[in-house]
Symmetry: C2
Subunit: 509 residues, 2 copies
């Protein structure tokens, strides 16, 4: 595992691939009827225009849009907006924010049902370790699994998004319209943790809330064809906790000579004691009063999903992938899966104080800081979590520590019973990619914007295979080699066609 940046989709994707045991037993998504519609004329157009469609993906990845480095971002927003106009979206705007602009588009198909499609048009920075010369050239590379588009953004997230728009294009050209009305809401700061996505949504919230479903196109097939479907994410709070010398004691101006510890309080030990008070001695049970109270029991359908995962869970394989020898508390199988989903975490992402160089410098540091996050299962709200932590600190005599919230949003999930979920599984079943379904990921993403702010059922996923998000040699599969079961570009686009028709036929609410 590489280090992964904060709550972003690439992190989720990596987590998915590592964390999901093969499904089996209990609840069976294979029993959901495969989507039965056939749209042969549209499929044929996709097949005949696939080279142009691939060209669209290449055009997108050739436009740099590195949000962290403000490299090409606005140009990509304008490219996306122009593409939406070209595709017949009558209403298209750049939405200015404190950061990079969002893009809003609306295609009024005069249809009964309306789908919101979320897009991120920014990408991660690149390092020099790529096997190709230019990660922004749109190069096609032959790999054992088949021909791939190798580029920054190929799978995270330009490839699947533009494939979705290719499907829209094919339907329109063949039928003169779309089976659903379509909103596109895109942001250019997903890789930065979506700090201003609320501003992108804000002007349109009342309209968007009237839609029926929200969808985020994402390559979630393995080369073998197996797909995963996670029906939500945990929430998160992320904060800095800082102890520094002050009225309570300790050096308040700067570090002092270490020998003074004999008379002077230590902010570093204070931070250490404060953090220690928040967990059991083994670091694995959160000792903050009330923290586990909001955890609910799995619902009947969630329990079915858990049982299904448990039937084939391979703890040892995942432990090996993570380089760890055990799960906390000796958990295995179903218990580990349920803990994974339903428990909050308290994790020290980083801690620092004083002298951290070579040798033996002796100082009593005047401050110490930790970066702590807590993953929030559904039910544990960020505001409540922050309040309980603050109350714990105050109650245990650590009232002087400053707690600086840096992020906080709740979990998001859509029940497996939701017609949107059933429609997505039905389409996947049609392509022989019956997914492993999990109630939600243990990772976090601000998808509450769809499930809570917009109050819509939300699914992220689909056919298609890619790899290397946030890493060198990022790619998306275009033409599978013999033996590769994951969908290539044409099949992926066809599945998006089917999904739009399936949603027009009653999925969503």
């Amino acid at each position: 595992m590489r280090r992964l940046l904060g709550p972003s989709i690439a992190a989720l994707t990596a987590a998915l691939i590592a964390a999901q045991p093969a499904a089996g037993g209990g609840f069976d998504p294979a029993e959901i009827p495969a989507y039965a519609g056939e749209h042969e004329a549209v499929y044929a157009r996709i097949d005949s225009e696939i080279e142009q469609h691939l060209g669209q993906l290449q055009r997108w990845v050739r436009q740099r849009s590195i949000s962290a480095q403000d490299d090409g971002v606005r140009e990509m927003a304008e490219l996306l907006a122009a593409d939406l106009r070209q595709l017949g979206f009558a209403e298209v705007s750049l939405v200015e924010t404190r950061g990079h602009p969002g893009v809003f588009g609306y295609y009024d198909a005069g249809a009964e049902r309306t789908v919101v499609v979320y897009m991120m048009y920014d990408v991660q920075p690149v390092d020099p370790d790529w096997r190709i010369e230019d990660p922004f050239s749109g190069e096609l590379v032959e790999l054992p699994i088949g021909r791939v588009l190798m580029a920054r953004g190929a799978t995270n997230q330009k490839g699947p998004q533009r494939a979705f728009l290719n499907a829209v294009d094919a339907i329109r050209k063949e039928t003169g319209g779309l089976p659903v009305n379509l909103y596109v809401v895109a942001e250019g700061e997903e890789e930065l943790g979506s700090p201003n996505f609320g501003e992108v949504l804000a002007p349109y919230i009342e309209r968007l809330r009237k839609a029926d479903a929200a969808f985020f196109p994402m390559n979630l097939q393995r080369p073998s064809g197996e797909a995963t479907l996670n029906l939500g994410v945990k929430g998160i709070i992320y904060f800095e906790l800082e102890a520094r010398g002050g009225d309570w004691g300790g050096p308040s101006r700067n570090d002092i000579h270490g020998s003074y510890k004999v008379l002077v309080d230590s902010p570093a030990l204070r931070l250490i004691q404060a953090i220690a008070s928040m967990t059991s001695k083994d670091g694995n049970t959160i000792m903050i009063e009330g923290y586990y109270d909001p955890i609910r029991e799995p619902s009947t359908s969630e329990r079915a999903l858990i049982e299904r995962q448990a039937a084939t869970a391979d703890d040892a394989a995942l432990q090996k992938a993570l380089g760890t020898s055990r799960w906390i508390d000796g958990l295995t199988g179903r218990e580990a899966i349920e803990r994974h989903l339903f428990h909050p975490t308290l994790n020290v992402n980083g801690i620092w104080s004083g002298y951290t160089g070579e040798g033996t410098k002796t100082v009593l540091p005047h401050k110490a800081v930790a970066k702590i996050d807590s993953r929030l299962p559904p039910g544990l709200e960020p505001e409540a979590a922050y309040a309980m932590i603050r109350r714990h600190l105050d109650k245990h005599g650590f009232g002087d520590l400053s707690l600086r919230p840096m992020s906080g949003y709740p979990a998001a999930h859509t029940p497996v019973e939701d017609p949107l979920v059933q429609a997505v599984i039905g389409v996947l079943n049609k392509y022989g990619a019956t997914p492993e379904v999990s109630p939600w990921l243990a990772g976090s993403a601000p998808f509450y914007q769809f499930t809570r702010t917009l109050d819509l059922p939300f699914v992220f996923g689909g056919l298609g295979h890619g790899s290397g998000a946030h890493a060198p040699d990022e790619y998306m599969l275009i033409e599978p080699a013999e033996g590769t079961r994951a969908a290539g570009l044409a099949e992926l686009e066809k599945s998006y066609v089917d999904l739009l028709y399936a949603l027009s036929e009653g999925a969503g609410r």
Copy 2:
């Protein structure tokens, strides 16, 4: 207070100036008879040759000898050796070590008594913030307190050491000999923590142990003339404590995604819990079994010294100087002084783990490290301290943490009743600089090499004033302005003359 490098004399000096309340009450060093000898001819020679003597100090500071940067170090060793030969030391050698060479010299005066003089010939690096152009030019600068030699090494420690040799030179020229036999043992790595000083002493230990006293010339007067005399130092252990993923759990290869905390043990929390277990919740009482057991009660004379300090202790002033609002446990006055001297510390000099940059990267770090030191009062031996800490960790379930000793040596002290101490105070009294006396410093230096390895009484101190060790604008006072009571170079050299005669008359054992 600036950050001070490890156990070195400059740290001690700064601690002295900050930490010592004015003396008063109980034991009175003023009652020790002033040294009564008069050596007029030698004094006169010092006065008449003072410009040449100052020239010797300048010659020493002009020779760079930055041990940390290996800049001029051997040249300085050779310069010192040559000077000793020139002063009539019949036996002079460079002593090769794993690091910079030591210098050994012996002057056989045919005298009854023998004195060991410790010298350090290395200096700290320089930064560009000096008010003079070149910290190695030997420049004389007029300050409000008088004319000073401003240079790296001026007071730490070339100035007082060469002043001592100037006194030797004057005695020899005037009398044809010396009143005591003289060993010089010098190292070029004091600023590095004296890692190889044992190697410098090793070939000569049996001879050195037959001496009567050991002395380290040091400017310890304030401009107002007040002097301090500390009769020892605490010992120290300094170690790194590291938790990393392994058989016990946790990620063993590299950092993993933070959301896995829900199933995976955290080395950072493990280190935090281990350190927390070693202190009380306020960080101020060491919870390691047996750690306070070796602490002895102050002796009668130590109690007298403490009472004297307590009589005029100004806790608020020292707290202000350190930027702290209180002493631990609400201590004040005599209690604080006794705690300061007689208690060990457990101090986190530094701690680090995981992500410490901007923003909200979410990782479960695979290792965490702390740099911890413990100051050891007399009686608490470094080997015993290490063993108790290891035992504590093992007993509390932290057997997997690695404890890496980086330094360890015991306290050193010489009782105030010792004839050497009485002689030094007698000389200071003669010059109206009755010292504030403390049993030892709360800081650390490897002076056990004198008190334990050589089994000699040992004093570090004397008249003279300097400032800026380890800092820009380091200086030593040469000619006091009117109103400055600290000794200038001539008076300092005369006090060294007196000290050598005083020691010849029966001080030491």
